[in-house]
């Protein structure tokens, strides 16, 4: 910007004697209407300053230039005073509005009723996340089963005491409530060809006395992996991967021989963990496992494959970490229990 090419407003004092009063009036305008009135009076089409500019034509050129410059400066200072006052009035209005809109942020909000998932669903979801991330497919199956799928096809011989361990709920029409999720092993294998990795969550039923740790209805999760050569080490590896994902790195697994008719060799498994309640490191005995029994493969027409299966109760994984004293809480629908597990959607 070249010096003198433009006059800076205020660099010259407007010489109109009324100027100081006008500026004071503008600064004191009480509202937008009064301000508008001043604008019209001073710089409107017939405003006083406009009028003076119009009268410049009567002056000689030298005077005209000089007066013109002076009046323009005056006009500019009036305009900017009006703008400033306008902005101030708007700010004040906003301040008033804001003040009037103040709320008490400490009062409770108008909230929709909260929902939540059942703790057993939360635990199941967590487990299924783990298994999905390990490449397993999730399937479910019927709860009302036949002897064939629940027992015979799983190598429970008829009239064998192994059936007593299952405490079956029989129906009057000769069916039964499944005693484990294992019938889905057979159903899935009947419909699919190996290799595959699957998990089956679901309700199971045992007709045994109900107490704080035993329910007639509970949930299991079952895993089945079948391929050309699946080994017992793959089984232990899978259990270990699950344990790592659930509990964190560095956990250990333990397998001990036991008997389930549908696996051979069979084992029960435990994982080494720090009990979150007691803070003690201990074995958490989880469930049963083993290599799929050849008779089970025979029942579904598989040849030349091996596989492993493992299964465990879901309630235990919900009861132990939260130190829930009574398994029956899960099925009583008491909001005082249910609502405690919200927040883990």
């Amino acid at each position: 910007m070249t010096e003198g090419s433009e006059q800076r407003p205020g660099s010259q004092t407007p010489e109109a004697p009324e100027a100081a009063q006008w500026l004071a009036d503008i600064a004191a305008a009480p509202d937008a209407a009064a301000l508008q009135e001043l604008r019209v009076r001073l710089i409107g089409k017939k405003g006083e300053i406009t009028q003076r500019l119009k009268e410049l034509g009567k002056l000689d050129p030298d005077q005209r230039r000089e007066q013109g410059q002076r009046i323009n400066v005056l006009k500019q200072s009036v305009e900017s005073a009006i703008e400033a006052r306008k902005a101030e009035l708007e700010r004040r209005k906003l301040d008033e509005q804001l003040a009037s809109e103040r709320v008490d942020v400490t009062l409770p909000g108008t909230r929709p009723t909260e929902g939540g998932l059942h703790l057993l669903t939360l635990v199941t979801n967590r487990l299924l996340d783990v298994f999905r991330s390990l490449g397993y497919e999730v399937v479910t199956g019927p709860e009302l089963e036949t002897d064939h799928y629940n027992f015979s096809a799983l190598n429970f011989p008829p009239d064998h005491p192994a059936r007593d361990t299952q405490d079956t709920f029989w129906t009057t029409d000769g069916r039964l409530l499944r005693t484990h999720t294992s019938p889905m092993q057979v159903r899935y294998m009947e419909a699919h060809k190996p290799p595959f990795k699957l998990v089956v969550p679901g309700k199971v039923f045992r007709n045994e006395a109900v107490d704080v740790t035993h329910e007639a209805q509970f949930h299991q999760l079952e895993a089945l992996v079948v391929g050309e050569r699946i080994t017992m080490a793959d089984l232990r590896g899978a259990i270990n991967e699950m344990a790592q994902a659930l509990i964190g790195p560095g956990t250990k697994t333990r397998l001990q021989p036991t008997y389930f008719p549908f696996v051979e060799p069979g084992a029960e498994f435990a994982i080494w963990w720090t009990n979150p309640r007691s803070g003690r490191e201990e074995w958490l005995e989880l469930g049963g496992c083993g290599m799929v029994h050849p008779k089970v493969f025979e029942a579904v027409g598989y040849e030349g494959v091996t596989g492993f299966a493992f299964g465990f109760g879901i309630e235990r994984l919900a009861l132990v970490p939260y130190a829930i004293p009574d398994i029956r809480y899960f099925y009583q629908g008491d909001m005082r229990v249910l609502e405690q597990f919200r927040g883990i959607l």
Partner: protein
Amino acid sequence: MKLPLSWLQTFFDQPLPDVDALVEIMDGLGLAVENVTEHPGAPAGVVVVDVLEVEPIEGSDYLKRTLVTDGSSTHQVVCGAPVVTVGMRTALALPGTRLPAAGGGDGLEVGQREMLGVASNGMLCSPRELGLYDHAGGLITFGQDAPLGADLSTLWGSETIIEVELTPNRADAFSLLGVARDVAAKLGVPYKHPAQGLDSGEPGGGDGLAIQIDDEAGCPRFTLRGIRGVKVLPSPLWLQRRLGAIGLRPRNNLIDVTNFVTFELGQPSHAYDLAKLGGGVIQVRRARPGETLELLTEEVLELDPADLLIATPGADGQSVAIGLAGVMGGRHDSVSDATTDVALEVANFDPVTVRRTAQRHKLVTDARTRFERGVDPNLQLLASARAATLIAEVSGGTVDRSVSVTGCDITRPAVAFRPSRVQFLMDFDVPLADQRAYLERLGCQVVERGDDDWLVTPPSWRYDMSIEEDVVEEVARLHGYEHIGETVPDMHFVPSAADPIHRELKVRLAAAGLQETVSYVFTGEDELRRANAPAPHVFLKEPQGVERGVLRTALYPGLLAAAAGNRRLPALGLFEVGRVFLEDELERLALLTTGPRAGSGWGAELKGDFYSFKGILEATAALVGAELVMAPVGDPATDAPFLHPGVAAAVSWNGRHVGHAGRLHPEVAARYELGEVYVAELALPLEGRVIRFEEINRQPYAERDLAIIAPDTVSFAALKALCADAAGPLLLTLEPFDVYQGGRLEAGTRSVALRFRFRAENRALTDAEVDALMQNVIRSVKGAGYDVRA
């Protein structure tokens, strides 16, 4: 099964590992240890005494004054036991003795007392009072082997007891012998068979005893042996101690020996009073129609023709049932104090026959448990020799040289075994010599036929080794499962991403403010009736009570029960995903709300009415782009009897009828003491929609409002259909913005204000066009007999 450590030790010459190590070994063998307990012995201050005198005390029905001696001094003791006789050898707790309390605690200190004016210097004790075993029905009694005056605590010490939970396949381990055999195999040390080297007698008759087997399949082996001149007495201390330690009550020297051998060898046996056997004959046969049997427990069984019986000829020569084979003896034949000659039965019965017989009569006995799992079929002669020898030893009788026997030893089928399968299945290597040694230690015969081709013959006691994998497990078990590695299978499998557990739906419902619940699948017929739910289709045979006798036919009754339980809450929203059991097993979703759906307590709240309930379903559908339509129910009383007939909707989801939603019938609500409740019962799955992108239409739309006044029985859906039809294809949306009833409106009518939006695909509509369309609408509405207000 309880295993007293000192008893287990008798099977070994060298000391067993310490308890912790032993427990680890047993767990590692699959003999799962449940717990280890220290069973206390007799308390200090108890002495062995003989009863010298017994006389009733005047003024008491049951108290007696007794005089007992400890050999050096006599004591006067008041005793309340039902049976106390002169000559009985029993235990006296001297004053100052602290007796254990049942179930722990400080117990009772015996003092010098006076009862009914008679001084009592101590207390004659029952086994329970001494804390030895659970019997309080009489005084503990000893034989002559318990020295008079001895301090009982030196004779009956404490015992470490390992309790194992046996799996049903390990019939072979259901005894001290069986566990010792497994432990010895693992440790690689020899074990001693208690019956080894005993003379098993001369098979054949000549002893006056005879066996008649009518059913060889049911009874493959039967041995009967006489022991003459026995004297029925309390068992010697060692025998009482063994039985007490495993939780059995010692009775007399005959019964105690049979029980002892059962647990020692795993072979049940039965001692008959020979005098009560008709002609010394034992018969094994199926029951006759209408036949009955009185058990030892005095219960009389109505027998089934499939029941396998032990019988003997009666006085008239007719065969009389005296026992349920392999399950329980009868009263007829039992030994008594007067018995002098004993016929000892040691037999083997078909597992299935025993199991079915016992199941029919709902009898669970130790013998049943053993026979249905399988008793070593070659053990009977040896066990008979062992039991007979012990009976003679403790009762003073003489064992017959001759023994009646049916059936013969068996050899189990050999299993073809490839030692390489151990590596194949277990993924660890066990040297061939070790594999062979493991199998031989377990009693198998191993023949190497060729390279990787063995024949393994399991011992007679193993019922669970019939295929190659069974042999692999035995090798692995002895080698130790701790050698199993951790690997990840290399497999090509692409899992389906399906969501069979309806996880997304559950999350949406929870986010919509509903709490998930899980109810029981079993319920009661009454409960279903109470909820106006369909009648049950599936009935349980042996339910846990009538209120759990049938399988649910709907989910919402479970939510009603939960709502009733949470009645104190002002607002509640619940849902459940589960299965119901009608003609078929069906997956369902049920929802319930009661009370306001939103609120602050001090300000505004969202009323819990039909529309806020419907809104939950609409939002749930909208989140997956599904089309949800609710229409009036044709006949609510039949189609949805649980709903208020005026607030009931049939729900369709993506065009498929999935169930009903509405207000719970007030009659049902009253039964649950609930107020205004909204419920829905819907079939799963509730799937989303395949999404197809549509290009944005940038043409402006024209809006017109119209209020229609029509009878309030004309549904919004009907008005909408009428208007949409008249408005033609340029109609974009048609939504209600006000519904008004009452005021200046005629009763039974209502005003529904509708907002129409019109839009053309590729041009702006003119006002004239839109007005013309609205005129069509108004004509149609009026034609239908309704009023309009523009």
